[in-house]
């Protein structure tokens, strides 16, 4: 066994060293809550298939203060996901060169955020207009 003990720099907390990495980790962490929301909705789908009593039990669970608190957190995280998704879109989308020039990153991000705002508002307005 070798007596050499080379210094290996610890990787613990590497992402806290730079705000860029903090934003990267925050963006990646949204995935956990996207999965959580999908699982809540998946349970709802299963309950819907089991009939009216099961569905109303699921709705009742959503009315619990802890559920509402969780959804407020989910809302904040989804808004951050939307923002970060379109922030990195200039790097993740295939490069297109209209008029031989790259699109400006601000234009790509702005278009995405505007589309999300329009669609979200449209969805909420549409749900307000569903006949009782």
């Amino acid at each position: 066994m070798s007596a050499r003990r080379p210094y290996v720099r610890s990787m613990a907390g590497w992402w806290r060293r730079d705000p860029f990495f903090v934003r990267y980790m925050a963006r990646e962490a949204t995935a956990v809550l996207v999965v959580a929301y999908a699982v809540i909705q998946l349970v709802g789908l299963v309950r819907l298939g089991q009939g009216q009593a099961a569905w109303e039990g699921w709705l009742q669970a959503l009315r619990h203060p802890l559920s509402v608190a969780l959804h407020l957190v989910l809302l904040a995280v989804f808004l951050y996901h939307t923002w970060s998704w379109f922030r990195i879109m200039p790097k993740t989308m295939p490069m297109i060169l209209p008029d031989g020039k790259r699109l400006s990153p601000t234009l790509i991000t702005g278009t995405g955020l505007a589309a999300a705002a329009v669609l979200c508002i449209a969805l909420i307005v549409a749900s307000m207009k569903v006949a009782s």
Partner: protein, 118 residues
């Protein structure tokens, strides 16, 4: 040369990420806040009759299936690729758990929607 399966996972990650970025905040607000707290939206927006009719309609079915399954594929792909960043250098087992979980969720969603009927 063996073809990579990465583009399939990547495209489902991208589709789920795009759908959740475009509609996610409104969906969370409607289903998790507005309906349970009875603010802004009609009180029976997600009543059994409404939800069942929506899930029976082909368009509602397609939306529900796409949203639930693609959100899952989006999330597990990101989680799988972040494991390395938090110091978990896992291999095939983590991949099976992540993508297997999304596949299981997709199958359950499909089965639930089929059991609701047309």
């Amino acid at each position: 040369m063996k073809r990579s399966n990465a583009p399939i996972f990547w495209s489902m990650f991208g589709a789920g990420g795009m759908l959740s970025a475009l509609f996610g905040p409104a969906l969370v607000f409607i289903t998790g806040i507005a309906v349970p707290m009875a603010i802004l939206v009609p009180p029976d927006l997600m009543s059994y009759a409404h939800a069942h009719a929506f899930a029976q309609h082909w368009f509602g079915k397609a939306c529900l299936f796409a949203f639930v399954s693609l959100f899952l594929w989006h999330g597990v792909h990101r989680i799988f690729h972040s494991l390395h960043d938090i110091g978990l250098h896992t291999g095939i087992l983590a991949k099976l758990c992540c993508y297997g979980g999304a596949l299981a969720g997709t199958l359950v969603a499909g089965w639930a929607l089929l059991s609701i009927g047309f």
